[in-house]
C-alpha cells in the first residue's frame, strides 16, 4: 500500500529486518563473549571437557557473527 508516496510494506520490512538483524547481532556477539568467559573459567578450574565445549560454542557463534559481517559488506557493495 502506498500513501503519501511511502510504500508501507517496504517500511514494515525495514522495521522487522532491522529488529531481527540487530537483535541477532547482539545475541550472537554476547554468546561469543559468554562462551569465551565460561571456557576460560572452566580451563582455570581444570574442567577440560567443559572448556572444550564452551570453546567450541564460542568459535561457532563467532563464525556465524563473522558471516553476518561479510553479509553486511556484501549489502554495502550491492547498493
Amino acid at each position: 500500500m502506498t500513501v503519501l508516496g511511502v510504500t508501507w510494506g517496504l517500511l514494515w520490512q525495514t522495521i522487522w529486518v532491522s529488529f531481527a538483524a540487530g537483535i541477532g547481532v547482539a545475541v550472537l556477539f554476547s554468546l561469543v563473549i559468554l562462551a569465551s568467559a565460561r571456557a576460560s573459567d572452566a580451563r582455570r578450574a581444570g574442567q577440560d571437557v567443559a572448556a572444550i565445549g564452551f570453546g567450541a560454542l564460542a568459535t561457532i557463534t563467532f563464525l556465524v557473527f563473522l558471516t553476518g559481517v561479510i553479509l553486511g559488506v556484501q549489502v554495502m557493495l550491492a547498493k
Binding site: L4, G5, V6, L10, L11, Q13, T14, I15, V17, S18, F19, A20, A21, G22, I23, G24, V25, A26, V27, F29, S30, L31, V32, I33, L34, S36, A37, R38, S40, G68, V69, G72, V73, V75, M76, L77, K79
Partner: protein
C-alpha cells in the same frame, strides 16, 4: 565569463563539502570506540580515515547524483549545485561548532532544494520525493534505532550480566573495533560517492565529459582523499557529544549502539529504505542509555540534537536559496560563484587566523 571557471569552482566546493562530510561524520564510526577506550582517539580516526578511503574505491556505481528524485533533474545547473553545496557546508560547519551530530546528506539535499526553489520556483521541487526520501526516514531512523538499541542492550546484559566484568569489557571493545570499521567502510562507499556524483554531473553539464562516460579516476581519488582527510582531522566536538555527552557508556553499551546501529543501517539498506547513519547511531546511543536507566540519558543534549535534525533541511535550504539569489544577482555564469567563493574563503581564513592568534586549535573545542 568562461564556463570552465564555474566548473572548477563547483569541483572545489564539492571537495570542500566532502571534507566537511568526513570530519562531521567521523563521530559515527569512532565516538563510542573512543569513549569506551576500545581504541585511542588517534588510532580510531586513522582507522576510520583509511577505511573511508578504501570504501570510496569499493563501489563505483555513482548511484545518486545529488537530490535525485527530489528536485527536477533537468532544471539543475552548476550554479544551483554550487549554492546547494554552500548551504550544506554552512550547516555542517554550524552543527560541528555546536557539537551536534546531524545528517550531511540531508544538509546537501536541503541546500539543493533551497537553491533550486529560488532558481526555478516551486515546480523544481518534487514534494513526494522529499517526503519519501528525507522526511519519513528522518522519523523512522532514530525511533527504530532507539528501540533496537534499547532491546539489544537489555538482551546483552541478560546474557553476559553474571560474568566477570574484565573479560566482558575486553570482548565488547574488540567487537566495537569491528563494528566501527564496518561503519567507516560503509561511509566511504556511500558518502564519497555523492561527491563523485556531483563532480561528474558538473563535468557532464559543462560538456567536459560525455553523458555515459565512466567516472574519471582523478574524481575518485580526489573524493576519496577529501573525505578521508576530513575523517582524519576529526570533528572532535561531535565525537565528544556522541561519545560522552548523551550518555556515559560502558563497553557493552558502546557495542550495543555501534554494532546494532551498523546492523540496522545495513538491514535497512538491504530492504531498500536507506536511513541516515548519524540519526541511527545517535538514536541507538540514546536507546542503550535509556534501557539501562531513563535518567542515564542527558535529555537536554538529546533534545538539542533532535532540534538540529528538524532544522537541517529548512536551514540548509535557506542558506542554499540565499546563496543562489546572490549568485544570480552577480551573474550565475561565472562572476557570482567566483565572488561568493572568494568572500567565503576570506571569511574562513579570518576566523581561522583569529583562533590561531587567540592560541586555540583549528578543530578542537575551546
Amino acid at each position: 565569463m568562461d564556463s570552465d571557471i564555474v566548473l572548477w569552482i563547483v569541483v572545489a566546493t564539492a571537495l570542500v563539502f566532502d571534507f566537511t562530510n568526513g570530519f562531521h561524520d567521523t563521530a559515527n564510526a569512532v565516538a563510542t570506540s573512543i569513549s569506551t577506550r576500545a581504541l585511542s582517539p588517534r588510532l580510531a580516526v586513522t582507522m576510520a580515515a583509511v577505511l573511508n578511503f578504501a570504501g570510496a574505491f569499493l563501489s563505483l556505481a555513482v548511484a545518486a547524483t545529488i537530490a535525485n528524485g527530489i528536485v527536477q533533474a533537468d532544471l539543475i545547473t552548476p550554479a544551483i549545485v554550487f549554492a546547494g553545496l554552500i548551504g550544506a557546508i554552512a550547516w555542517n560547519l554550524l552543527t560541528w561548532y555546536y557539537g551536534l551530530p546531524s545528517s550531511s546528506s540531508h544538509a546537501l539535499i536541503g541546500g539543493v532544494v533551497g537553491s533550486a526553489f529560488v532558481a526555478a520556483g516551486p515546480e523544481a521541487v518534487l514534494g513526494e520525493g522529499l517526503v519519501t526520501k528525507v522526511i519519513v526516514p528522518a522519523f523512522v531512523a532514530p525511533v527504530l534505532a532507539f528501540a533496537v538499541g534499547g532491546l539489544g542492550i537489555l538482551i546483552i546484559y541478560r546474557i553476559v550480566g553474571r560474568q566477570r566484568p574484565g573479560p566482558v569489557a575486553r570482548g565488547f571493545r574488540l567487537g566495537q573495533i569491528l563494528s566501527g570499521g564496518l561503519l567507516a567502510l560503509s561511509h566511504g562507499t556511500n558518502d564519497a560517492q555523492k561527491t563523485m556524483g556531483i563532480i561528474t554531473l558538473a563535468l557532464v553539464s559543462n560538456g567536459t565529459l560525455s553523458e555515459h562516460a565512466d567516472v574519471p579516476t582523478w574524481v575518485v581519488v580526489a573524493s576519496a582523499t577529501a573525505i578521508s582527510l576530513g575523517t582524519y582531522v576529526g570533528g572532535w566536538r561531535i565525537i565528544r557529544t556522541m561519545g560522552s555527552r548523551i550518555i556515559k557508556m560502558d563497553p557493552a553499551q558502546g557495542f550495543g549502539a555501534q554494532g546494532v546501529g551498523a546492523t540496522v543501517i545495513l538491514a535497512a539498506s538491504h530492504a531498500g529504505f536507506p536511513l541516515s547513519t548519524t540519526q541511527v547511531i545517535s538514536g541507538a546511543i540514546m536507546g542503550t542509555g535509556a534501557a539501562k536507566r531513563v535518567s542515564a540519558v542527558r535529555w537536554g543534549v538529546a533534545g538539542n540534537i533532535v532540534v538540529a535534525w528538524v532544522l537541517t533541511l529548512p536551514a540548509s535550504a535557506l542558506v542554499g536559496g540565499f546563496t543562489y539569489a546572490i549568485v544570480a544577482l552577480l551573474g550565475s555564469d561565472g562572476l557570482g560563484p567566483l565572488v561568493v567563493s572568494v568572500v567565503l574563503v576570506a571569511a574562513l581564513i579570518a576566523v581561522m587566523a583569529r583562533r590561531l592568534v587567540a592560541g586555540k586549535t583549528l578543530t578542537a573545542e575551546g
